[in-house]
Symmetry: C2
């Protein structure tokens, strides 16, 4: 603490990311990274871009990447915003859109960074409670809020809303900005990007960290109608002119060009998820239906904190959230490779026996 | 413009970076990049790091890079903060330290992003006028300000303050946070980092974009006593847990290990700067004394905008600032390679004849 801090710095509660252990031999199922390496074409693109031009600033607009994303989703490049990971994109949109007289609304159990952004920018918020089965009922969101954000599928539950439900919600709240955070959409959901053309109150965020296996490079994006993207650009250009470096831009472009890799790895994760869900069910776990690259599970007899600690003792790291109390007995487990999933099950058999 | 923008978004005036032209054959002397490629060891480190581990998040603390910087400057790693370019570091410190009841103070002619950050975060500011010779008199800064920031050497003038003057200022304002922005310090100045141990009201920012030729990778840093660094970490952890990607961390570590490359390239830039200053003087330019990798110059007869446009017609880009009016006839010219500098002089001879 320092007398030079701006007054609010004392009271903010920073986000705590999942552990990034320095021991390589751990089975790391705690931060929803891809268990598979990035596309070989992406690695080659990065190595090629590691040349003398690194002395030069990157394109401040990252036009090549925006165009690649626009082409992939059949959009105009002016409907795409990119940033240094989707966390930066989210931070900018909280500042740019949610500093309103009326409070922002999000689910009571969701990505815990949302509250942190509210603290950072002095944004008032309210929450809508998930149902007992952790499903989100959008119609329960108050009508007079200043904005809405939710992940789809939700984190850490993995539960998915259908496009029809989102479309109906957008139509019923034409004067409320709705942000759909699609960090995990590629593992079985249908993206709301297809709704952007018809809804000027929709922003969709995505990341290349999960389904494109590029967490180490920090690339996130937002898609919406041009006036919303213009607002994000105004924030970005008042914060950091060059948020994406040359190598990230090159990697992102290459990633959207390798559709075979993308389909194959997402398909493998989804198939392994169903196998793992079944195996966990056989071991007395409640397993929520998941459209993400993780499962949210609770054991019938052993508490969440205790189980996470025991697994760690067996070299397997999963994510446990001590709050809110309602999820204290649940664990979020990233889908790993087949051998990682087998190691998890073996560790569980040991712990539970 | 959109009805969903937060109210302040309408009024902010984003920063306008120097042009990043897409034509490679232009002589680009407009954004103060290094004319030399990065160290070969840095490029090799980046290529080696472009491996399967890109699927994993980077170390959120970038500990390896902080330690490399700490070792280089004989600091504790807890006195070092790193970010996605020094612009991100500056943005965080404006929010974390300058949101005060009393206004921030900076020179009237300086890095134009300072005003932009004030607009982004609603920070009140006042300016202190540079003297006729563009020198900065720190004692003219009012005693009751909420913080002070200035570049040393200043941008776009290139004028340097001595360490003695800065030390005296720090001692005379023990209750005012002073940020010394040392983006260009490696080209002939003495870093205020050596003053950090004795002054808890000092933060020093630097960048790897200029003297370490890594503008394309976005790495910036701040150095100060631990309570100030803690404050920056609180902001960073409320904004983006992983601002530096794996490749930037690897590149930064490798950069601090190649001292020979660093000394040689900085030495070459400084020697070429003196040659270029003399050649411009012979062509009827006023040339400010510079401790940066650029010169700030004014021609006796031809206006700044006119000259910049004419040079561009000859394939040479330099930076012209249309405001404030006092510098409208000045140009900021980056020191290039010997052949780039010769091309500039040839173009000038053509334009001025």
């Amino acid at each position: 603490m320092s007398r030079f801090w701006s007054p609010f710095v004392h009271s903010i509660e920073p986000y705590v990311p999942g552990e990034q252990p320095k021991l390589a031999r751990l089975v790391k199922l705690n931060t929803n990274e891809s268990p598979y390496p990035p596309s070989a074409a992406v690695l080659e693109a990065v190595r090629s871009a590691a040349d003398d031009d690194l002395r030069l600033y990157p394109d401040p607009d990252a036009s090549a990447l925006k165009q690649a994303i626009a082409d992939y989703h059949q959009l105009d490049a002016g409907q795409v915003f990119v940033g240094n990971g989707s966390d930066e994109v989210l931070a900018h949109l909280f500042l740019g859109f949610f500093c309103q007289d009326r409070p922002l609304c999000f689910p009571d159990i969701t990505y815990s960074f949302y509250k942190v952004y509210c603290g950072l920018y002095g944004i008032d918020y309210c929450t809508v409670a998930l149902a007992d089965d952790f499903s989100l009922d959008l119609s329960a969101i108050p009508a007079d809020v200043g904005g809405v954000i939710f992940p789809n599928p939700n984190a850490p539950t993995g539960r998915l809303l259908s496009l029809d439900v989102i479309r109906e919600f957008l139509a019923s709240r034409p004067d409320t900005l709705v942000v759909v955070d699609e960090a995990y959409i590629d593992f079985g959901g249908e993206s709301a990007i297809s709704l952007v053309a018809d809804h000027d109150n929709l922003l969709v965020t995505q990341t290349l960290s999960k389904s494109r296996a590029l967490a180490g490079l920090r690339i996130g994006l937002a898609v919406g109608q041009a006036p919303l993207i213009d607002g994000l650009n105004r924030i970005k250009d008042s914060f950091n002119s060059y948020p994406l470096d040359r190598l990230a831009i090159a990697a992102g472009v290459a990633s959207y060009a390798d559709e075979d890799w993308f389909r194959e790895t997402c398909g493998r994760v989804m198939a392994d998820r169903e196998q793992l869900a079944q195996a966990l069910g056989e071991r007395d776990f409640s397993v929520l239906p998941s459209a993400a690259n993780f499962l949210f599970v609770r054991h019938e007899r052993v508490g969440g904190a205790e189980l996470a600690a025991a697994l760690r003792g067996h070299g397997v790291i999963v994510r446990h959230f001590s709050s809110p109390p309602r999820i204290a007995d649940w664990l979020r487990i990233t889908i790993g490779t087949s051998s990682q999933n087998a190691a998890l099950l073996a560790a569980l058999d040991d712990v539970l026996s």
